[in-house]
């Protein structure tokens, strides 16, 4: 899709990161490092929640920035920089998940045997934990983090991506739609279902963060 000159100019004026990326386009290495410093934690965080592995998330984040650098010469600002960047993140994560899924097909039997009685489905794990025989007590920060992470993992891939972009990148529905290549209405439904699923998964913990 071609981007009009006025659109590009508008984003250039509005978004300082677009201006940085335009400097990167002109081979300004310092601008590229600045962009990485601004976004690397955010990119790694999103990728970690998408692929579930920290090391892999860092490798993928480097791949994302490499793609940014490689496509610098053809960069034309047609959206906020973060929207453009997270479109690349989404593509990289999708490719990685496909590769992981292919590998898991081979490993799934062994993994199921090794996990013993612990359910493989995150939703089921949360429910099992919540219905345990432990007395009611306050959750500490890491426990809460772990429970919320499992709840996020229980979402399907699209819901998870939409939630991460909405929650952590504070993107509008329009920006999420552009990032994920979907319509605004589809994102509205997706986020609504994601919120409802999260609410269901976290229901036992909603009352002041206690283990029931």
């Amino acid at each position: 899709m071609s981007i009009s000159e006025s659109t590009a100019r508008r984003y250039e004026l509005q978004d300082p990161d677009v201006r940085l990326m335009l400097l990167v386009r002109d081979d300004d290495a310092a601008a590229f490092e600045e962009l990485m410093l601004r976004y690397q934690r955010r990119v790694v965080t999103v990728l970690e929640h998408l692929v579930g592995k920290r090391d892999l998330a860092e490798d993928l984040a480097q791949d994302v920035f490499m793609r940014v650098y490689r496509s610098r010469k053809s960069y034309v600002p047609g959206s906020r920089f973060s929207t453009w960047l997270f479109t690349i993140v989404n593509n990289v994560a999708s490719n990685a998940r496909r590769s992981l899924a292919r590998r898991k097909e081979v490993q799934v039997t062994n993994a199921a045997e090794q996990s013993g009685s612990q359910p493989a489905d995150p939703m089921e794990r949360i429910a099992t934990a919540a219905s345990g025989m432990m007395p009611t007590r306050q959750l500490d920060k890491s426990e809460m983090g772990s429970i919320v992470r499992q709840a996020v993992e229980s979402l399907n891939e699209r819901q998870r991506m939409a939630v991460l972009l909405s929650k952590f990148e504070e993107m509008s529905y329009a920006d999420i739609a552009e990032t994920m290549g979907m319509s605004v209405q589809a994102i509205k439904s997706l986020l609504s279902r994601a919120r409802a699923n999260l609410k269901e998964a976290l229901q036992p913990y909603l009352q002041e963060g206690t283990v029931p």
């Binding site: 965080t45 929640h49 480097q62 809460m144 439904s189 279902r193």
Partner: protein, 170 residues
């Protein structure tokens, strides 16, 4: 009071409305309608609270704790390596292209020479060329037919009487 479990579609619609409200994605009219309903409908309000609290719990998700400098350094190193590989590939590709181009030019020249040779051969051997070469004989065919002695005709040819015909000695 609304019972969202009564009809699944109604519940979905309610969730979409509340999610959009929480995400600040409603226009003024829709927002006003939601707020009016929130004031009147306890179930609606309770659902909003649950969705909002579950959303707030996402703040507990661990954030990436990176060594920023190291990440930048290693990424730049990777890009540098990749860029040098790309330059090498480009150079190799350029050399291959140059070789292919030179080979193409050489082949073209050979083809042109071949075509020139074939054209010349064709022009030299075409049937009307023989007729032209033997025009003098054709013009005098009636007289020459009267001569029974082949040696006599050979002698005439050697003396160059048949203009345009090449002698055996030449």
């Amino acid at each position: 009071m609304t019972d969202p479990t009564a009809h699944p579609d109604a519940k979905t619609e309610m969730d979409e409305l509340l999610a959009a409200y929480l995400d600040n994605e409603l226009d003024d009219t829709e927002r006003s309608l939601v707020e009016t309903r929130l004031a009147e409908d306890e179930t609606f309000r309770s659902r909003l609270d649950d969705l909002d609290r579950a959303w707030d719990m996402l703040d507990a998700l661990p954030k990436a704790d990176l060594d920023d400098e190291k990440f930048v350094r290693t990424t730049v190193e990777m890009i540098t390596v990749a860029a040098s590989q790309e330059i090498q590939q480009y150079e190799q590709q350029r050399k291959r292209t140059a070789i292919i181009r030179q080979a193409g030019i050489a082949l073209g020249i050979v083809a042109l020479i071949g075509m020139g040779y074939m054209l010349t051969q064709w022009r030299l051997n075409r049937p009307d060329r023989i007729l032209v070469d033997n025009l003098t004989v054709i013009e005098n065919v009636d007289e020459l037919e009267r001569v029974d002695n082949i040696e006599f005709l050979e002698a005439l040819r050697k003396e160059g009487l048949f203009t345009g015909e090449t002698s055996d000695e030449s």
